[in-house]
Symmetry: C2
DNA sequence: ATAATCAACTTAAACGGTTAAGTTGATAAA
DNA sequence: TTTATCAACTTAACCGTTTAAGTTGATTAT
């Protein structure tokens, strides 16, 4: 393997010192350079195909232009931590935005035997963005580490983390309100267990608010709580099938559950939206592929990823000061799974 | 921001030289150390919470334990380059496997203004794994760069790249054969355009082989070629609806197309599998969410990701020598979208 | 004419590790 | 007793950058 070309080679080729090469390449304006020298250096750079070694640069600068992204990994889902389309779409948008600004992304699943503060230190990560819900001591540790962080969709108020998220209560309210406006009165909700607290809890709260605003009393058996996955949706379908004239619409707190519900309902001969209407949440690409396509709350994942990137980079470049919070607006996208009643 | 603790601090704390610290930490066996010193050093490491700075280590060692993953980004799909569940599941598995072996993953979308050979050089990537199809000169450039590479699902035979892939021809054959065995004779295929050549071409070849083996002549209008997405599936449905007694089953070269087809067919009142059977390809998580759930070719994406990780790491650690090729076995998973006729 | 200023560089220390080569004192071999 | 060997370190060069602090020769101010 032939030796990499370094700044020395460029310096020699251009007939200047390595410091000069560094100055012309970085062009920070702190140093006056003659046009002629600049030209000679750039010519040498191109000729030799020189690419600076970021490890050396990081060492000297203490700045890596690397952002870590931590993605949750559930016990049951070890190898597919981000097979959830939410993560993919988020990550994709984040990476795209970051790359445009000269940053790279280092992804890492959550994992007991490797803590990401260590990773952050080891790899000189400039900052990290965290998805998912973590135990209190983990968050404390992150906070103590002083590494610039932005947390996505978290409701931990006591820490002064920077956040980007959704107004989930309002979103839940909006979803339910929409159902109400379509004439539904018997509305069930299926949502995530308390483990993924935060967002789901808020969405349920919005649901409750909308209901009580319309003078509808909250029935406990109308709220189904389980794991956020396709299977749980199917499971709920079985339950709802047993009391089908007691519910006319159901609001699922995640599209994937809505799809499970849809499939389950189908099995019991219950038609959507004729017999039961379904409102989803997320609007990842899967929401449009079902029959009927899901009417759902678009939480603008792509924008969320973009804002996350911009926020962490803004903080790192010190353009953003103080605690940052950004709420990504939601909107409802009407498709085929809800009918007027 | 307080200063990071470095090897010097550990050395001072333990009362030894930094070289000694380095030796005990790396424990390569090239150096004899007293048990007592080892203990003292480790104690200092823990006490000070020392984490080695990988940038410095990379600089000294010329080894980063970082693997780059290049993911295609289509023009129309800029911000969602890996919203395709194939990429997510693959990446997820790759990352998981790599992490277990002490490597990290740096992801990067394909992008005109940043070429990944430069990224690889800059970031001292030990190797890269490449997904998707690229122009010849790109591949040549990669080859010339001498960076250890494994390419996924590529049929570029002339370069001696390491590969992990699927026997797509056999897979196409298997899928079609299955349909044949279920009694279907009028089988259409919907597949990707020549842009994503390789895999699709092979799958079509397998389809043709199976057909001719059964003495069925290939009808040109039975092969639909377009972009690999949901919309194209819907589009094909429209066409097939017009000639519905001319086809009794259709093999889609990707699940996402199959789902589009399914939805489209539904619109025209054509039932699946009663009127038309559908065979998918991929078995990402979306294949089980439709009604009916897709019978499909499982290409074992998770294993593919794992093998990719193991291959690149094996090459880097010199346990694997010479050109490597691994074919991930496929299997058919029977669900609800095909009926016997 | 002399000093001060300045453009356009160069020198060298520093970043935080690794590692070949050197040191030292104790033990074994001759 | 002298010499060789060896365990257990330490010293210092090196990896490829950045950057504060020189240096130098020309120009400007006094």
């Amino acid at each position: 393997m032939m030796k990499r070309v370094g700044i020395k080679d460029v310096a020699k080729e251009a007939g200047v010192s390595i410091a000069t090469v560094s100055y012309v390449i970085n062009n920070k304006g702190g140093q006056t350079l003659s046009e002629e020298t600049k030209e000679r250096v750039w010519k040498a750079v191109n000729q030799l195909n020189y690419v600076p070694n970021l490890s050396a640069r990081i060492l000297a600068n203490n700045k890596s232009n690397l952002i870590g992204v931590v993605i949750p990994q559930t016990e049951t889902d070890k190898e597919f931590m981000f097979s959830n389309p939410f993560y993919s779409e988020f990550l994709s948008s984040l990476e795209y935005t970051a790359r445009k600004k000269g940053y790279h992304i280092l992804i890492s699943g959550t994992n007991a035997d490797e803590n990401y503060i260590e990773v952050a230190k080891k790899r000189n990560l400039d900052g990290i963005v965290i998805l998912g819900v973590y135990p209190k001591d983990t968050l404390e540790e992150i906070q103590n580490s002083k590494i610039p962080t932005v947390i996505i969709d978290s409701y931990i108020k006591s820490y002064h983390f920077n956040t980007v998220g959704t107004d989930d209560c309002y979103a839940g309210y909006t979803a339910t309100k929409y159902l109400l406006e379509k004439g539904h009165r018997k509305i069930a909700i299926v949502t995530g267990s308390t483990l993924e607290k935060g967002v789901n809890q808020e969405r349920v709260r919005g649901y409750e608010d909308a209901l009580s605003e319309s003078g509808i009393s909250l029935e406990k058996r109308n709220v189904y709580t389980g794991t956020v996955d396709f299977e749980y949706g199917e499971e709920v379908a079985e339950q709802i099938a047993k009391r089908k004239d007691e519910v006319t619409a159901v609001f699922c707190t995640a599209d994937i559950m809505a799809l499970g519900l849809l499939k389950g309902l189908n099995k019991y001969g219950i038609r959507v939206p004729e017999d039961i209407s379904i409102m989803g949440f997320d609007n990842t690409f899967i929401s449009k592929i079902s029959t009927p396509a899901l009417t759902t709350i678009d939480q603008n994942i792509s924008i969320k990823g973009e804002r996350a990137a911009k926020m962490i980079i803004g903080i790192l470049s010190e353009q953003l000061k103080g605690k940052q919070d950004y709420i990504v607006p939601i909107e409802i996208v009407e498709r085929e799974s809800i009918r007027e009643v």
